[in-house]
Subunit: 517 residues, 2 copies
Amino acid sequence: MKQKNSYKTAEGILFTDQYQLTMAQLYYRYGLYDNKVRFDYFFRDYPDYGQHKAGYCIHAGLEWLLNWMSNVRFTDKDVEYLQNHKDRTGNAVFSEDFIKWLRENGHFGTISMQAIPEGRVVHPNEPLVVVSGPLAICQILETALLNELNYQTLIATKASRIREIVENGLVLEFGARRGAERGAIAAARAALIGGADFSSNVGISHELGYPPKGTHAHSMVQVFITMGMTELDAFRAYADVYPDECLLLVDTINTLESGVPNAIKVFEELSKKGHKPMGIRLDSGDLAWLAIQAAKMLNDAGFRDTVIVLSNELDELIIWQILSQIKNEAPKFGVDADDLINRLVYGVGTRLITSAGAGALNGVYKLVAVYHEKEWKSAIKISETDAKIPNPGTKQVWRIYDRREKATADLLSLSNEDPQDMQQIILRHPTDRLKYRKLTPEEMIKCEPLLIDILKNGKRVAATPTIEEIRALRRGDVKALDDGVKRLMNPHVYHVSLTEKLWAEKQKAIESAKENG
Amino acid sequence: MKQKNSYKTAEGILFTDQYQLTMAQLYYRYGLYDNKVRFDYFFRDYPDYGQHKAGYCIHAGLEWLLNWMSNVRFTDKDVEYLQNHKDRTGNAVFSEDFIKWLRENGHFGTISMQAIPEGRVVHPNEPLVVVSGPLAICQILETALLNELNYQTLIATKASRIREIVENGLVLEFGARRGAERGAIAAARAALIGGADFSSNVGISHELGYPPKGTHAHSMVQVFITMGMTELDAFRAYADVYPDECLLLVDTINTLESGVPNAIKVFEELSKKGHKPMGIRLDSGDLAWLAIQAAKMLNDAGFRDTVIVLSNELDELIIWQILSQIKNEAPKFGVDADDLINRLVYGVGTRLITSAGAGALNGVYKLVAVYHEKEWKSAIKISETDAKIPNPGTKQVWRIYDRREKATADLLSLSNEDPQDMQQIILRHPTDRLKYRKLTPEEMIKCEPLLIDILKNGKRVAATPTIEEIRALRRGDVKALDDGVKRLMNPHVYHVSLTEKLWAEKQKAIESAKENG
């Protein structure tokens, strides 16, 4: 993806909201632009899909954000647009001196960043990314940061839910045609991080090193039929061109009366020539029932190890239902349910790429500290609901593992605290004074800091992970979750707690903000 | 947006699904790649948002699709990716002769296209775009076409619903931070087409010639407070830098006790200096109630013509509720409801850019005809549900206006039929043989063909419309809809009918497909 300065205007540094620039100019005019500040990126709630809800998220999008940050600059075109922007009285909105400053300083080479690495399990109200740097620059970054991380985390989370429900089954991301325009490209990456094995999207799959998957559509069979040939002719042509990857879509005419019998004929012809047929795809109807019947027919014909790809508006809940139905019904037809489930492949499109039921992650980017008079001061916004008050100051996030090697809680501390040194850890509920939990060192086997240094003054200080490394983090973290947290519906609420010191700091900041209101 | 050959791999011609390429290779190998075919793009159902549902859609995305089509080519990098793609036995998936063919012929310069222009009201099961050209090339186009048109139509439709409910109120698109990565750029355009007046997204707004809108965030007030100053200091600074566009966000501390009084103070100071204050923004709490109270305070202070911007999870239903509440409650507080409603501005973010409740348009691209043995033959797919069987052949779409100048039905005909020559028009229900309606020429004032020629063999034959022209089409078409069709909930079902001849052609194609199955 690296192509220096090749961004179109809409995708470059002006991929931001207008108020970031008007605020930046105000900071410039008031000499505050260079004041060091700190913003936290965090989300407030897990995606709620309506009938079901997430109990954890998979952090994703960071590398693409970093790549964008390292490449964008104010171009001549950008500057021209800003110069020509007039207010309602006809005066320029942006002054020439500010624009000159932007041209020289409007880049992210001055930003420092800590982050929880991509692929890790994350929870509400803990900082996933901590940005520090000059006030005006941190502000301009907000929109692109939220855009990239909110969306990729949303999709990676949905993909992880699908991954968990299918266990070892192969998951293919098929959503480009129903995705939000070129956001579909980021979705393919996020899906791979979250749990998809491959995507049908050709370009991005190759860029990421995962060969794209796909065979044929109904239209191919239709072309043959319209020209006076048959479904069988179409299948034979496909087998001829792809003898070693012959996967046939069997529902163009009638799945069990035409598609599967024709597929079996072609598989027999392939086998005689020494090729191993790959399988079939079902794209309509009662997928569980059809899969059982098709499996029976394939088994009877001796093609026990062909795969059966399922597609058509799948998501974690629909897959769960298909699996339950197969477990109940397959034995009645003489089909071993586990055998059948082991040969299933899932093509997941619309409902993955749109995160159906929860189309956005409510991630926010909040000012938490300002460096003023030679010290970091906690910033806070008084909100009408306690839960919306961000945790102030400079923090670390710790993940505590119990003796079962399961993650039992995430703990937010001040950055100079280390729970590993504590005799006893008090886990404070973030808003309810009466709720807390105590942990002794004997009850935990590990207490791991999650935020790591990514950028120092614009310089990358952490290695760039491969997608495979990111996926490995995801696998490990999801494995360390209690089953209750992974439950599709009404998941157990994972604890995100504060240390005593951070709790006290938060109360102090709230009081101070109320006084200054 | 024109930048020849500057697309990254993921955004270029490989922004397609793998099966389009595997099918293209099969067509190449079987000498079918150059056979002329026709595909229809249409959607099956209006977006259903759960509690409410669309009764019409606004067609959008076409110009961006055309721009992409005219620019993409197989690049060296694309070719290298395809060459290196191996099947499971280690053989190349794509042969060198096919790749050579792709390199020479893999572009859209051979495509012809008819389309209903962007901005027009459209309905289910009528072709919005008709693509004809060589089979292999039409197939490769599918993914990008669906991706661009499905998403932009989805968002333009949502924006139009918001536009209709706010009547003349100003609508601002604020969604970039919650959009699907760079799909947020297309969303800003689609929102402008559908009914938003402006967007906060800087780059794309400038590219489209609509100045981006925005003022300041909570963080600006927080910065001042954290540095020992006050909300009033922050507001004064903002007024100082933007005296003629002073719009203040008043809910950082307490809207009515702090934000509005401080804004009024600043407005008074501005007025004394001869500037006209712009208004306030409310971003949390009970927006209707706060708007009434804030209006009262602003009115009492003499600032009757300042605007009140509302934001925070707005959509058409929530705005509808806010408006009802204002109509009921404003008079109780001595505030004229209509006056207040006339000064409202709506910042609509997440729920617009995600089309909350209906995250995808179910648009499809279906083979409808194949040119074979010197004639066009209708292609059809037998589906398990009647409603999913596409209308075959080469068609025109007509919009029939009754004597009230309202659109009363869309009529699909064969392309050589002209309803204007008919003594009596039979409007056939697309699937139910028993349902039809008769119209005489006296009952209609106009019968307008909607599909126009856009491309002939890759050459543009229709003028490129400006966004303003597209918006004018949308305004006219929405005005010509019955109020029942525009109703937010349970809209009246607009008729999309077939002529007698097309109905007969469809029956013939179904029979023929069943025989050949």
